[in-house]
Amino acid sequence: MIDPIFLAEAAVNGILLGGVLALLALGLNLIFGVLDIVWIAYVDLVMLSMYLVYFLVMVYGWPIWLGALAGVGLGVVLGVLVHVLIITPILDSPPINQLLATGGLLFFIQSFATFLWTTDHRSVRLTLPIIEVGGMFLSFARLVAFGLAILAMVGLYLFLTRTYIGTAIRAVSQDRGAMALMGADPQRVYIVTSAVGGAMAGVAAALLSIQYSVHPHFGAAFGPITFMICVLGGLGNMVGAFIAAFIMSEIISVGGVLWSTEMGYVIAFALFIVMMFARPGGILARRQ
């Protein structure tokens, strides 16, 4: 029999993980909503930023906050580069080709990281305390990451609702065709969207790097679950993705304690498949 305190601990850890997963899913979903393209390599961009944070902090001795900022900066640059170099030429290709082009990027990043940095696991070692709350042991790093993830999401929300370009982005995700009719420049909106999506990846990278070690297959570990969350929430639907992130992270965390880590993921993916059939438009979509 499993001690209920372990379950409670797993549930809290699930919520904390959910915050960072939600951030990842929102970044990917923003890009999908506007460009109608799934960046299969999204979490691999996160991984590159994590490597930067690791090298700046652990090798060059930068303070963690400066390293994290640099990670966010790299995220922005990568987001824009992916859009300009890969997405722009194939904007009008069939969706399968767009999916595969970013899939090729995934292979490229993953193997290049293996080539440059080998498959060693590298972690940013900070001496952060473990906090005891009512018998549960919670990592301070995770609490900080959760708080900052929520802050970043609030920032994204304000950006999308309070700024002119943010409003333009939301308008585009509602109707792509109408934008050109209104005389707006699509390429500019696309680039800003990709930059913001990249920034979200960078923030997620900074937050993940204080909890997990980075290795070339990091993208393969977190990528699938991120897509599942986006689809479960409804591709392009921000609120849905936010809720779905917590559902999935709870299943993974609690299922991992009750059975095994793999079974936690199996249940999460199986739920995703079943939910696709029950609610293809995402958990918040109205049934037709």
């Binding site: 399968i96 595969l100 193997s111 293996t114 897509f227 059939f277």
Partner: protein, 330 residues
Amino acid sequence: MSPGRLLALAVLVALAAAPFVPMGGMRQYVLHVVIQIFIWSFIGQAWSLMGRFGLVSLGHGAFLGVGAYTTTLLWNFYGLTPWLGVVAAVLLAMLLAFVVAYPCSRFGITGHYFALVTLAVGEVIRLLLIAERDWTGGSLGVTLRAPGSDASLLAIQYADKRVFYYGGLALWLAGLWVWARVDRSMARSAMEAIGEDETAAASVGIHVTRFKLGITMLSAGLTAIGGVAYAQYIAYVNPETLAGIGVSLRIVFAVVLGGMYVLLGPTVGTALTIALSEYLRVVFGVKFIGMAETIYGLLLVIFIIFLPAGIYGSVAALLRRRRVPAAAPA
């Protein structure tokens, strides 16, 4: 005989005679590469049966894994010959395909969503194989139980690579035959109509669900056979090489690289990707682990951007364009 048929016959004769050409110490290696090309081309053909009609699956690793593990575990634990095991493997893979494809078709899950659902299925199979480590060996994989002799028809295990060479050749030709059959059938027109516009296809009396299910189950069954063939040849199965995203994407890439709308597209794509990674492996060796895949990934992105119809597809289209004006003067 037309020049095309003559060429095909010449290629076949060359392929049949190839194992007996003296190659010195290189023979085993060359045979190994060609056998892999045969098997993965066959799997690519199976994938393209669906892919060409817009049913893009990113989870064909699931069917490979189900196929390979079914025969392997039946042989290891119960001593059931893979000849019978493959029947179970195909049936299981088709059942899995049915369970996934039926709701997808009923609830109109297409495009991105279909790709992501299949991706999840591939991951579920990979994770289940790892989780059930007591009898699947987990991420360490399983070695096929050795039959006790160098050549066993019952176990389909041979020390001599030439047996697998001819087996692979036969498999590849059978795959081409199935592809050509589908290409010439009514199902092709129906599936093309469905791929263009499902509602319109249904309105002219095409049974959308039946055709989609049929082609998906056919593709899954053939993929399972490919998985069994690969497992028998390598005599070792592992969840990473036979299930999950990595292998699923590799299949798709090879086909897209070659061109999925032409008969020999999957073969050309597979041959190129395998030849490329072998070449890079030989050039860079173990000193630069990952370099081969890096170049491979970069080439894929470039190809998808500049040659979306695939290498063979583009060449074939170019030849056709040149031939048409000569045949039909305006």
